[in-house]
């Protein structure tokens, strides 16, 4: 079975700064993988690299066996990589339904079919009652779901969720997490990026990778990884590491 996503010693530099340092990972279809790490660890950069908004300086990225290291964002999307953005980007003068239709249009030219496909997705995300409202002015929880809905409408094989629950209340976050857990039902593998909300990570992640200053410092099951000293040190600083000894 070809892994759905492989990063092979990927490095990304901005001027003198190495934002991502020789990161490698493998992911199989149907998995829910979370990349965690403190602010500035490089999570969003990794997402930008996978989705084609940035290209690696070294290393390769393979999606379903195909090298996508130098691909443009729209090509990556067409191949089956969907994403949400850390700062939500609804298209403000379109309705919720129209926003999602944009994703659905990848597979049909007909507005009517796009509408039907979008309705199903909005139903899954429990947003049908919001279909006719303008996307601007919606509360954050709805906007986060809209991001997912729009990406899901492109029928991706891999979806990148960057800080998808940040800014939500705990109950909103858990509700959304429950939906994210079900994404593999749509044939989608999930990579999530999270800085804090560990409850969510513990509940739904199959595997966790920890980044710190651009390098991978730990990988494994959620419960194991969070106990590791190097992870605690990365988040809380060296003093706390001693506490765990």
């Amino acid at each position: 079975m070809t892994p759905v996503l492989e990063l092979d010693n990927v490095t990304k530099r901005f001027g003198g700064l190495r934002a991502v340092k020789s990161v490698s990972l493998t992911m199989n279809a149907g998995e829910i993988l979370f990349i965690i790490g403190p602010n500035g660890a490089g999570k969003t950069t990794v997402f930008n690299l996978i989705s084609g908004f940035l290209h690696p300086n070294e290393g390769t990225i393979r999606f379903q066996g195909q090298d996508i290291s130098r691909m443009s964002p729209h090509r990556a999307a067409q191949l089956g990589i969907g994403r949400t953005f850390q700062i939500v980007k609804p298209l403000p003068s379109l309705t919720v339904l129209q926003n999602v239709m944009l994703g659905a249009f990848m597979h049909t030219r007909s507005p009517r079919q796009a509408e039907e496909a979008s309705a199903k997705i909005l139903d899954f995300l429990q947003m049908v009652h919001l279909s006719k409202f303008l996307a601007s002015g919606l509360p954050l929880a709805a906007l986060k779901r809209l991001e997912i809905a729009r990406a899901l409408a492109t029928r991706p094989k891999l979806i990148l969720l960057d800080e998808v629950v940040s800014g939500l209340t705990t109950s909103e976050a858990l509700a959304l997490a429950a939906l994210v857990k079900r994404l593999p039902e749509w044939g989608v593998s999930v990579v999530g990026g999270v800085e804090h909300v560990m409850q969510v990570v513990m509940k739904i992640a199959d595997r966790v990778i920890v980044l710190d200053y651009g390098a991978k410092i730990a990988e494994g099951l959620p419960a194991e990884v969070v106990k590791k000293p190097e992870v605690i040190e990365a988040y809380l600083g060296p003093k706390f590491k001693e506490l765990t000894q």
């Binding site: 908004f53 729209h74 953005f85 298209l91 944009l102 601007s136 709805a142």
Partner: protein, 327 residues
Amino acid sequence: MSLLKSWKFWALVAATLVWARMPWFVQNNYQLQVLFRITLFAALGLAWNLVGGYAGQLSLGHVAFFGIGAYGLALFHQIPLPLWLSLILAATVATLVAGLIGLIAFRLRGPYFTLATIAFGEVLRLTAANLDVTGGAIGLTVPSLFHGRTFWRQFYLASVALTVIAFIVNYWVSRSRFGYYLLAIREDEDTASAVGINTARSKLWSLLLSAFLTALAGALYGSAFQFIIPDSALTLEISVQIAIITMLGGAGTLLGPIVGAALLLSAQEVFKNQFRESHLLIYGVLIVVVVLFLPEGVVGGLERLFSRKPRAPGSSKPQPALGGAAQ
């Protein structure tokens, strides 16, 4: 959706027929000329709307296509080639040039794009003014597409026909996937890319369509006045005028460009009798007023007033993303 049952469709048809009959109500050729210019600018506005309204790319270089249409008609006919073939070739050349401009300019965003379009327009004007084959600063005579005593009436009807075509193109775009893609590009190009839209290609297509129509209008204009000079027909002023008409009426709407053309050019006529040369001042004031108080234009503002798209309860008032209304 059955078009034939829609009352709006029949209202538009009726309005078009009335508009086409205008020459018969008008006393003299000068007034007919004014109507001709209003209708032609409505067509120009509709053509620009594809790029500036739907795709949200503020092009201030459209006069380039306008000029290529007119000069092309004259030059191709000089070869000599038949009139109507020359017309099609001129529009085709304009479209090819648009392709070139698009390849360069669309890699730029925001004000850089606008600057590039201005630069292209000016390069064209200065080149036409400096080359002998284009008649230099003195200009060229443009062959007349129509003849006879009623030739102004024929030109007028041709302009109406062009406006109808431009309107139909706008309508088709607004209802199609292509139109959605352009709106997405207007609001946020990164998001558009993330859902698989090839933004460069979509923008290019909107420019090609727009350029073709604009060139036809330019050829018609040059042919009606039988003369074309760089300093009056290839100026940045015309590009700005086209953009203002559409913005004033409502960029991104179907009727906006038409309303804008009617309003602006009528106002110009009225003021021409009061002040000799101050039409630029009017434009300037209108632009400032529209930007400050009515960024979506007349039609856009009206649409929002009677909008069928409510905002979610408990939400804050949205800021206009671009100042142009969507469908």
